[in-house]
């Protein structure tokens, strides 16, 4: 039997470890130091962007906006004078001073305040542009009153840089970090704080709060560091104390300490070597490693003591302890690692880091607790104590076991009903995030932000609203629509301020009509409006230009709506309402998507929860599989789903009952607590199986044996781990605090369910009484007497998990637009984009096609196929397509399903009808021939706009048609081409010809596209002729009629679809 082999191995391991103890300790320490030296590379990341993966669509859209306009990292200084008079000489002076001084903050590129606001007025036909307040100390009371009237009436200032009652002022500093060094943000923050302190000193009675995105970034790093400095030592101390109290042995405690230190050092060192950056979330990794290292050690130490009390010598007892614990400790470590690796399903990189660091640390803890720990215990003095608390614990366990064995039905009903009752509350959980609330009241950023939100909104939502063509922002029609949009936004109750181009245009129109109030409206004439803008821009000083409002080509302008103190549910409501409004009221060409840090955070919870539910479900399943293999029983593996999955679900149920809402932080609790929860289940089940198989006991006897042998250790672990995680609740960072509380809750619930529900289930399901052969498997196969029950429970679990996902709506994806480089590149991109987009909106298409392959001698062979395509509107993704072959007959029914990506390899599946086999295939063969033709795979799949960089070359006549000639360079990997030259006609924007150049840069192939037909605005070539100039072979594609809009959906383009093709 395998378990016997394992036992022999474990005993052999123990003997080796004891014989070579000093070598092992030395080797472990040296190896750990070598890996641990990597820890010096660990640094704190201080940008909220680390919370988003590179391909997070909200982040991509946001960065795109920021590269078009200016960055949106900012400081917001909020000045509250004690007398409530911003327009007093003192306060105005303070505002002016700060406005000047703020320019000197490192990386500042723009400062906006009410003093440097570019006030315009009309004198005759001239436009006068000047600072609203200059030389504040010299202004008279009347002059100040005049400025006050202007400021409070100005829509660009009111409620943005000055409250509408004139009592509080704001100064906004925009920064652009080079993003080269991690010290940039702290450097700017330190300068800003100095400014604040100086100002408060010079102007007693003035209260200055400092907030903004840069302060948020900084707070993420600062609270993380604070947790490292305070929580870690506190937790360490608590755990060592508890260990000492429970084990009552200084040697055992010291040995445990060594295992912990080595494991944590190894985990963090490996993280450093891999270049992982620390964040306030991944900083929890050492705490998690430590708790698990303790769990492993305690199991071994408790068994060691029990064995000694039974009369074994210390060395024999060490061997016996390893024999008993090798399998459960290994399985626990493996399953816990799986649980933590499941964190990689999250969309937020800090959670990947937490998972990966912890997984490495747990692997180290597993190794060290099985080698260094026994080596140390054999070397250090360790005596068994007469009648210690452990004996008391064992009596308690025996008592508990009796109760469970006596009334399994009652216990199952009560605990099961209670747990399911809690689970029933899960659907009431609401996903909600509010990023300033990530920090508690002790954090300066939170205090300052709380004060600021009383006066000004803090959550900007950005819209880049496109106009028609270059200079289109001056179009009166565009401005009128934009004005409608602005008014709509201003009417929303949660919007405190709207910054829109229309206010500037209206003011300019008024100014240039001699400040006539009647003319405070959108100019009627496009040229006039353009002139006003030009005139205004010429008068603006450096740093205060319009580039943060209007893009360089003047083909789009930016509207910023600032929201008051709202949470993510309210934000989402606002975003949805606004999108609906836009679709109803604005023309197609003006549709725009919102971006900004708060939009990103609004969707992060949903993304994470959806990913994490999938990840956790996968982990629970994987753990069940590992247990099936380790315990050699399908039934017990299935059964493990209950005590492993239920505590997590019950914890969320309890949270729903107690708190009601979750942020993205707690989406990961399931994964974190899963590994620890599994520890309890594994140890109990392993002992149960040992009793059934080795000792041939009945289920009741086996349950008693399991309680007696591991009950105490499981209990001790729960106390230590729950206490350890409870320390995290003291963190001033909500993510860590919530995680600590939830995890403690989950661990305690797991203990309850493992002590009551699990044995009750075993007693009721594993009914074969009487003794069987001591080594037979038959005892175990009887545990699956009712696998249907277990499967039913599994299904219930799956359903509850899926209810979690059902609350999650997919966030809308954002389009990707290529960045700007040179004029030729930009023109090339425009032409390609126009060509590509002229095809958009077809939804789905179906076409029959014949492929004629011709070799150099002109010999033909034909194949016919059907191509179905589904358009994926998001330009950051490719379309999906299904190719089904009809002839030659021997490959009839063969099908190829592709999900095209932009730069990543496509996902492709092949369906082989003879075997009815669906095979996932690699798509790295992009340059390989498609079914023996002259078309490469990439010629079919690389039709997406963003797969290339472009360069416009020239205009040229091709077969009497005027065309633009555009060179394109593949951006994706594994292309067989260095470049392609495409002829795009200027009338209907379709590609007429493409030349392909191979990896050596020589002309390889030419493609001519002919017989274009117009399907209600969608153009399709019906004949494509590809000639290979190097081999003389050619391939023609002859298309039949296209059928569009066949009502196909995602499920028609999914792997499972392949098996129902025939």
């Amino acid at each position: 039997m395998k378990s016997n082999r394992l036992d022999l191995f474990a005993v052999g391991l123990a003997r080796t470890v004891i014989a070579r103890r000093w070598w092992i300790i030395l080797a472990a320490v040296l190896a750990t130091l070598a890996v641990g030296s990597g820890a010096r590379h660990l640094e704190f990341a201080n940008n909220y962007r680390v919370f988003f993966s590179d391909d997070n669509p909200e982040l991509v859209a946001f960065e795109e906006l920021q590269s078009t306009y200016t960055k949106n990292d900012n400081f917001l200084f909020v000045l509250e004078p004690a007398d409530g008079q911003v327009f007093s000489t003192d306060t105005l002076t303070a505002v002016e001073m700060l406005t000047e001084a703020a320019w000197k903050i490192p990386y500042a590129i723009r400062v906006d305040s009410l003093t440097n606001f570019q006030h315009t007025s009309g004198v005759d036909d001239d436009l006068v542009v000047e600072d609203l307040v200059r030389d504040a100390p010299t202004l008279s009371a009347d002059q100040r009153q005049a400025r006050r009237d202007i400021a409070l009436a100005e829509p660009l200032l009111r409620n943005q840089l000055i409250t509408d009652d004139g009592r509080v002022a704001g100064i906004n500093v925009i920064l652009q970090y080079p993003e080269k060094s991690l010290s940039e943000v702290p450097e700017a923050v330190s300068h800003a704080r100095d400014l604040r302190d100086q100002l408060e000193q010079s102007f007693p009675g003035l209260r200055v709060s400092l907030t903004g995105v840069s302060m948020l970034n900084n707070a993420f790093a600062e609270t993380g560091t604070a947790d490292m400095g305070t929580l870690m030592p506190a937790m360490f101390g608590l755990i060592m104390l508890l260990t000492l109290l429970i084990l009552r042995s200084a040697s055992a405690t010291a040995a445990t300490l060594v295992v912990i230190m080595l494991s944590v050092t190894a985990g963090m060192g490996a993280a450093g070597l891999l270049g992982i950056k620390l964040t306030p979330i991944s900083v929890a990794a050492p705490i998690v490693i430590l708790t698990l290292a303790i769990a492993d050690s305690i199991h071994i130490l408790v068994s060691l003591r029990t064995a000694m009390r039974e009369g074994h010598s210390k060395l024999d007892a060490i061997a016996e302890s390893l024999r008993q614990n090798f399998l459960p400790v290994s399985v626990t470590s493996l399953t816990t690692i799986v649980g933590f690796l499941a964190l990689n399903f999250s969309d937020a990189p800090p959670f990947w880091h937490l998972g990966n660091i912890t997984a490495m640390g747990i692997a180290a803890a597993w190794l060290f607790s099985l080698t260094v720990l026994p080596a140390l215990m054999s070397a250090l003095p360790f005596k068994q104590q007469p009648s210690d608390s452990q004996a008391l614990g064992e009596r308690a366990m025996a008592w508990l076991a009796d109760r469970v064995v006596a009334r399994p039905r009652v216990i199952l009903t009560v605990t099961g009903a209670a747990a399911l009752g809690l689970v029933a509350f899960i659907p009431t959980l609401e996903l909600n995030d509010q990023w300033t609330r990530y920090f508690d009241q002790r954090v300066e950023f939170r205090q300052d932000t709380d004060r600021s939100v009383n006066y000004f909104g803090i959550y900007p939502i950005e819209y880049s609203v496109p106009a028609q063509g270059q200079g289109g922002v001056s179009d009166p029609d565009y401005l009128a629509q934009l004005e409608l949009f602005t008014e709509y936004l201003r009417e929303r109750p949660e919007v405190t301020h709207v910054y829109s181009l229309t206010d500037i245009m209206k003011r300019l129109n008024m100014n240039l009509h001699g400040d006539d109030r009647q003319k405070y409206r959108i100019p009627d004439d496009r040229d006039l409006a353009a002139q006003y803008l030009l005139l205004y821009e010429l008068s603006l000083p450096y740093g205060l230009d319009l580039n943060d409002r209007i893009n360089i080509e003047k083909s789009a302008s930016r509207v910023t709506a600032t929201l008051s103190d709202v949470n993510s549910i309210q934000t989402k409501q606002f975003l949805n309402d606004t999108e609906a409004w836009m679709q109803r009221n604005l023309p197609d060409w003006m549709q725009s998507r919102p971006t900004s840090a708060s939009v990103m955070f609004t969707y992060i919870a949903e993304r994470n929860v959806a990913d994490m539910v999938a990840g956790t479900a996968a982990a629970v399943g994987a753990i069940a599989v590992i247990l099936m293999l380790a315990l050699r029983s399908v039934g017990l593996g299935l059964l493990s789903l209950v005590p492993n999955g239920l505590p997590i679900l019950a914890t969320f149920g309890a949270w729903a009952l107690l708190v009601g809402e979750v942020g993205f932080s707690v989406a990961t609790v399931a994964s974190i607590s899963l590994g620890i929860i599994v520890d309890d289940t594994v140890h109990l089940l392993a002992k149960y199986v040992r009793a059934r198989r080795e000792r041939g006991g009945t289920a009741a006897e086996a349950v008693r044996y399991a309680f007696r042998s591991v009950g105490v250790a499981v209990m001790v672990n729960t106390i230590i781990l729950a206490a350890g995680f409870a320390v995290l609740t003291a963190s001033s960072f909500k993510v860590n605090a919530d995680m600590g509380l939830l995890t403690s809750l989950a661990i305690v619930l797991a203990l309850v369910l493992d002590f009551l529900l699990l044995p009750a289930l075993l007693l009721l399901l594993d009914r074969s009484q009487g003794h069987t052969q001591p080594t037979g498997d038959t005892a175990m196969s009887s545990t699956i007497r009712r696998p249907a029950t277990a499967a039913g429970v599994m299904l219930a679990l799956g359903l509850s998990l899926s209810t979690l996902t059902m609350n999650v709506v997919d966030a809308a994806d954002q389009p990707v637009v290529a960045g700007e480089v040179s004029e030729e590149a930009s023109k090339g991109f425009q032409i390609a984009a126009r060509s590509d987009r002229s095809d958009r909106g077809f939804q789905d298409s179906e076409v029959q096609l014949e492929m004629v392959l011709r070799n150099a001698a002109g010999r033909e062979s034909r194949r016919s196929l059907q191509i179905t395509t589904q358009e994926v509107p998001d330009e950051s993704l490719g379309d999906r397509s299904l190719v089904v072959f009809e002839s030659p007959r021997d490959i009839e029914g063969t099908a190829l399903l592709s999900h095209a990506k932009i730069l990543d390899p496509d996902d492709q599946w092949l369906f082989l009808p003879a075997l009815k086999r669906v095979k996932r295939i690699s798509s790295a063969n992009k340059s390989g021939p498609f079914v023996g033709s002259e078309f490469a795979f990439e010629d079919f799949t690389a039709l997406e706009l963003n797969k290339y960089d472009y360069q416009w070359l020239r205009e040229e006549q091709l077969d009497g048609v005027p065309t633009d000639v555009v060179e394109r360079f593949p951006r994706y990997e594994n292309s067989g081409y260095t470049r392609q030259v495409a002829w795009v006609d200027q009338q209907v924007f379709q590609i007429r010809r493409v030349d392909f150049y191979d990896r050596r840069g020589d002309l390889l192939k030419s493609l001519n596209l002919r017989d274009y037909r117009d399907y209600n605005g969608i153009w399709r070539a019906h004949r494509m002729e590809m000639v290979n100039h190097q081999t003389g072979k050619s391939t023609d594609l002859v298309y039949g009629e296209y059928r569009f809009g066949n009502g196909l959906n995602d499920n028609d383009f999914i792997k499972g679809r392949l098996s129902r093709l025939r």
Binding site: A614, A791, N1051, I1054, G1056
Partner: protein
């Protein structure tokens, strides 16, 4: 025979489906001439030496309704073997009616279902019985009567199967090669379940893909497709014994650029004991070697099977598979697959070569070589030790 009743019922169902809705029946199929040449003299008396000729006919009728919501299929299979009467027979590979919606589909009748990802052994593929008389590579399957409901959800695909009738494995006859020392009396098996071949088997499978990973998990409960053997009828033949089992299976594939990492595993609890088995390995492809169209794939897999002596025997207890796949990617779809499975303990080995090429649009040729070596007495492959053969298939498609 019961199977005939099933066939009739399935056909009747199809005719009904066909008459209710319009839509054309599409007819196609193939005729194949197989020539097998064994390289050594047969080990057992009564086995035939030399060239074995056989003919195969596979007619296929397929139908789909105009609204594409329903389809039906009948695929027959006839083999006529010149020497081994056990290989000469008729089977319905498919005879089903299916209806589908946007996110579900339901199949009633006889069909084939394949699960798995590895190449050397189709470990987790469990729904269909193997047509072992047809080929020893375990890729030829008998049609399985089923009620199959599939549900497609955002979080994956769920397949539910009700399998009301069990198909017995086919074996070469007394005169056939590639058989155990005693011929197998495949038509008179022993069942551990009192319901015998009418035991209703059930299976549920979940599968999904996430990024580069494709994953499938299933539970199967019912009659094991693999028989054990018993000497009953007077000691001159083996009687297959089919037991009841509960099996959990998993298949996993990670698709990297040129790397495919594959794993299949199962845990089976059967009357004769519990065990786990796995196949895992990789396929690495060199695409477009030296800028040509030629792809070369290298396959390495490790096979483990932990079954006890009382379970149905398998040669794959602790083996390594090494193979190569060459695809010319030409207009004739020429390809070559070579490989060997070697037992790590006994060293017994199984060699396989399959080369294919299309000759004309309707005619294809396939050449196979299968060889056995190093099998000592007591090894699983020992009976086949002298059954190395070369086979040429010519198939005409219509």
């Amino acid at each position: 025979m019961n199977m005939n009743a099933m066939h009739t019922a399935a056909l009747a169902l199809l005719m009904m489906a066909g008459s209710v809705h319009a839509g054309d029946w599409d007819f196609s199929g193939s005729v194949g001439l197989d020539t097998r040449g064994f390289l050594q003299e047969a080990r057992f008396d009564q086995q035939d030496d030399g060239l074995h000729f056989s003919l195969a006919l596979q007619p296929e009728w397929r139908w789909r309704s105009d609204d594409r919501r329903q389809r039906a299929s009948i695929v027959g299979f006839v083999r006529a073997d010149a020497k081994d009467p056990e290989r000469s027979r008729f089977d319905l590979r498919e005879a089903y009616w299916a209806a589908e919606g946007d996110d579900w589909d339901l199949t009633l009748g006889i069909n084939k279902v394949f699960w798995g990802v590895t190449e050397s052994r189709h470990l987790v593929d469990v729904i269909n019985q193997t047509d072992l008389a047809e080929d020893i590579d375990q890729e030829e399957k008998l049609g399985q009567p089923m009620v199959n409901l599939n549900l497609q959800r955002d979080w994956g695909r769920v397949e539910l199967y009700l399998l009301p009738h069990f198909r017995e494995r086919t074996f070469p006859g007394r005169r056939g090669r590639l058989r155990p020392p005693l011929p197998v009396d495949g038509d008179n098996p022993v069942y551990r379940s009192s319901a015998a071949r009418n035991h209703v088997d059930v299976a549920a499978r979940y599968s999904h893909f996430l990024g580069d990973v494709d994953l499938g998990l299933y539970l199967f409960r019912g009659t094991s497709r693999e028989p054990g053997f018993d000497m009953r009828s007077g000691g001159d033949s083996l009687t297959p014994v089919y037991e009841q089992m509960t099996q959990f299976g998993i298949d996993f594939q990670h698709t990297g650029e040129a790397w495919l990492w594959k794993f299949e595993g199962l845990v089976r609890s059967a009357d004769s004991g519990s065990f786990a088995a796995m196949v895992g390995g990789f396929e690495y492809t060199f695409f477009g070697i030296r800028d040509s169209a030629l792809d070369l794939g290298v396959l390495v897999e490790y096979l483990y099977d932990g079954r006890g002596d009382s379970a149905p025997p398998t040669p794959f207890d602790d083996d390594v598979f090494v193979g190569a796949r060459v695809a010319l990617n030409d207009a004739s779809d020429s390809s070559l697959l070579v490989g060997a499975v070697v037992d790590r303990g006994s060293g017994e080995a199984f060699f396989n070569l399959e080369a294919e090429r299309r000759l004309t649009d309707q005619l294809s040729a396939e050449l196979r070589f299968r060889g056995f070596s190093n099998a000592g007495p007591g090894d699983a492959l020992f009976p086949f030790q002298r059954d190395d053969y070369l086979q040429l298939n010519l198939s005409w498609y219509f």
